[in-house]
Symmetry: C2
Subunit: 94 residues, 2 copies
């Protein structure tokens, strides 16, 4: 729990080999339970899969009257001991 | 003009070779004048550049108290006579 009483935001890591439909299901699940989720991706292939997943997940939650937006920010990550800049997508209800 | 009296939404096409900083400047310019813009990208490289541009553009407009969100949807485009599926990012103020 954070100081605001909300649970810490859940993070889904996406790779270039991730299946967008599977990630989309995970995004929809976290959105339904917590209302927001972070999706992290490093590299063009991973960013592309992440965007496909977010796009598909909008269709999964739309029948429940939920609409998702995404807010991209840069994020510095350490991968295998090396500094990498990735994209963090905050996906939340609008 | 549309039937609602708003001008038609401006479209920026992004390629894998597009410079994110240049596209970000274009996004910020259209946002300031029209409040929203569409960014189209086909392929992982173009989607990656588009997301970098949207992320950078958030920083361009933030000092004016503007916050951008993006809403990705799939779009069917014809490129060189061939049907391609791309991503359409609706970028708008939240």
């Amino acid at each position: 729990m954070t100081s605001e009483g909300r649970p810490p935001i859940e993070v889904l890591k996406v790779a270039g080999t991730s299946r967008p439909v599977s990630v989309a299901g995970a995004i929809a699940g976290v959105i339904r339970s917590q209302g927001r989720v972070e999706v992290h991706a490093i590299g063009a292939g991973a960013v592309n899969q992440a965007i496909k997943a977010i796009t598909i997940s909008r269709g999964y939650v739309a029948p429940s009257g939920l609409e998702l937006v995404c807010i991209p920010t840069f994020i510095d990550l350490i991968v295998a001991g090396q500094a990498r800049t990735g994209i963090r997508f905050l996906v939340e209800l609008c």
